[in-house]
């Protein structure tokens, strides 16, 4: 049976491949997304003091260290059974919003903009960030500036932009200074301008991507995100909620301690990335999506003026929930807008300079769960400790794992739409990659690298023979 292999998938965080299985007539029978790295963090932390977890877990990834730091610290707060000081919570929220900003800017401007600006069928030699730099320098400058803004906020708060150590069990290690606050506030108008400009531009481009909107993981599914009483956008505090594609609540008020009653994890024979599913419906029917699309479908309002205007327009795309994963890009821009606006509000709160920023306690529980909305979606850190405070077991449920079933479904949908016959073409190859890219998967987080692997698409015949192959 002919198989196409795309190995590695380019312009994503980490390394993976795609295989596309053809039938005897050359039509697509099946398609699979494989992650080719293995993660060891859940094992290597066993026996270490739980207080080391935030610093250790932040090393899972160079793009998302802040998200792991926050989720891990929340799990440690739970073990200590402390309620952290209000100022500390606000500071952590600013850190999370800065992380969302810099990560989404990387995804939109660096990784996906070449597809939007230069076209899905453009020569791959040109369809990269350097092509964008040459043809659309203002867009490139804006992207760099916006990402830099998010990174600078993280650096100012945490001391460094990658692997900051400021967030600790019980709060944060030191308070914010007035000059740091003022320096961040001074950069906010420019960050807002860039985001609004990118949104305007992207909305004008959607019409050119109708085929991609139709076929990029566009199907009814459930969505999972954090929710709260106000039904406003929530990225730091709240419980978990599942909704269906008609926006009906499927399960609600799921606290950290209960996540395993609702979220099942399944291992795959051909990938190091686990697939999570809504447990009550089982692996076959329990598919759901997380991340920007899920969060915007979930909330009733963003809670900030400009993001709410954009959200209202976003909602007009579909009657119920927005289902096409191509719109993850759109949702990312709205989330950046929200994040920058909310950062401004939090920084203007006089309490933000408060000096009570850390609660101290010994372990009061043998188990703790920390949940956070990371840029790519819901992130869960779950630790069990022994009587000496040493880690007995750890379980990490990562956004890309939540999205794994949907990514696979999307790859199959795109392959069926664009792969024709036994010969691979660049435009087709890129669309298969681009549907994966729409989810902005972070494979360093969801598994862990042991060596390197690039994108490889294999086209397999009905008897398993490789009839065509593209590698990058």
């Amino acid at each position: 049976m002919p198989t196409i292999t795309i190995d590695p998938i380019t312009r994503i965080e980490g390394h993976s491949k795609v295989t596309i299985q053809l039938d005897d007539h050359g039509d697509v029978l099946d398609a699979r997304f494989h992650v080719t790295q293995v993660r060891g963090f859940e094992k290597l932390c066993e026996g270490r003091p739980f207080t080391e977890m935030p610093a250790l877990m932040a090393r899972i990834c160079g793009i998302c260290p802040t998200s792991h730091l926050l989720a891990s610290s929340k799990a440690c707060d739970d073990i200590m059974a402390v309620r952290i000081p209000e100022t500390a919570e606000k500071l952590r929220r600013i850190m999370n919003l800065a992380q969302i900003t810099q990560s989404h800017a990387l995804s939109f401007f660096y990784l996906s903009a070449p597809d939007f600006l230069l076209g899905m069928d453009a020569d791959p030699e040109e369809r990269n960030i350097m092509g964008v730099v040459r043809k659309y320098p203002q867009m490139a400058r804006d992207g760099i500036k916006l990402r830099q803004f998010g990174q600078r906020v993280i650096e100012m708060l945490g001391g460094k932009r990658i692997h900051p150590g400021w967030i600790v069990p019980g709060g944060v290690s030191h308070p914010l200074q007035a000059e740091q606050r003022d320096a961040i506030l001074a950069e906010i108008p420019e960050a807002l301008r860039i985001t609004r400009s990118a949104l305007q531009w992207f909305k004008g481009q959607i019409e050119n991507f109708r085929a991609e909107v139709r076929s990029f993981a566009n199907f009814p599914s459930m969505f999972l995100a954090m929710a709260n009483d106000t039904n406003e956008f929530s990225a730091y505090n709240g419980w978990l909620r599942f909704i269906d594609s008609n926006l009906n609540v499927v399960a609600d008020h799921i606290e950290g301690a209960d996540y395993q009653n609702y979220i099942g994890e399944s291992c795959n024979d051909d990938s190091y990335l686990k697939s999570t599913y809504f447990k009550p419906l089982g692996l076959k029917d329990g598919i759901y999506r997380v991340g920007p699309l899920a969060r915007l479908n979930m909330c009733q309002s963003a809670g900030t003026a400009q993001a709410d205007e954009e959200l209202a327009e976003f909602r007009e795309l579909e009657r119920h929930s927005v289902l096409s994963s191509f719109y993850y890009h759109y949702a990312r821009l709205i989330e950046i807008l929200f994040s920058v606006e909310r950062m401004e509000t939090l920084l203007n709160d006089p309490e933000i300079l408060g000096t009570n920023v850390r609660a101290h306690a010994s372990p009061n529980k043998f188990e703790g769960v920390g949940i956070l909305e990371a840029p790519r979606g819901t992130l869960i850190h779950h630790y069990k400790i022994d009587q000496n405070g040493l880690i007995e077991s750890a379980n990490l449920v990562i956004a890309t794992g939540h999205n794994n079933l949907a990514i696979n479904h999307g790859v199959l949908q795109v392959a069926r739409q664009f792969v024709k016959g036994k010969k691979l073409e660049q435009g087709m190859l890129n669309r298969v990659e681009a549907v994966v890219r729409a989810f902005d998967p972070c494979l360093s987080c969801s598994t862990h690298a042991a060596g390197e692997m690039a994108l490889d698409i294999q086209l397999l015949s009905a008897d398993g023979e490789i009839v065509d192959r593209m590698r990058r």
Binding site: Y110, N128, I129, M130, V133, R141, I144, Q151
Partner: protein, 155 residues
Amino acid sequence: MPRALLIGYGNTLRGDDALGPLAIERLRALLPEAEFVSCHQLGPELAGQMAACDLAIFIDAASEGEPGTVQLERLLPSAGDAASLTHHVKPAALLELSQTLYGRAPHAMLVTGVCASFELQGGDHASALSESASRALDEICRLVPRLVQFFPAMW
């Protein structure tokens, strides 16, 4: 004095790979008017800062060559492998970005200390440098102030 930007990069947990960041720590005292960046790896975000300086000196550790020696390489803008521009950027590609996006690229030099050990280290990374890397670090701290002092005469 030229507007000099000194960028030391490397992983401070990987033994001698800390050479670049450690060099920056020492050079701060020797070149009070220069700008300094100490980072894990180079990112596109540095391009704007580079466009605003006359001279950029990149300081890195390498494994190829005679341990303890220091290599100097004059850099010119070059896009190189554009696919790698998203997460980490080579110095020449950073110059290319600076030139294309901001209209100018500084004169630039890559200063590489040849090192012996890139194993994972715990604790204070300063004490973790191998003997050959320490020699390279001393040499870098002797050479770099001269590169700045005699710019542009010797460039």
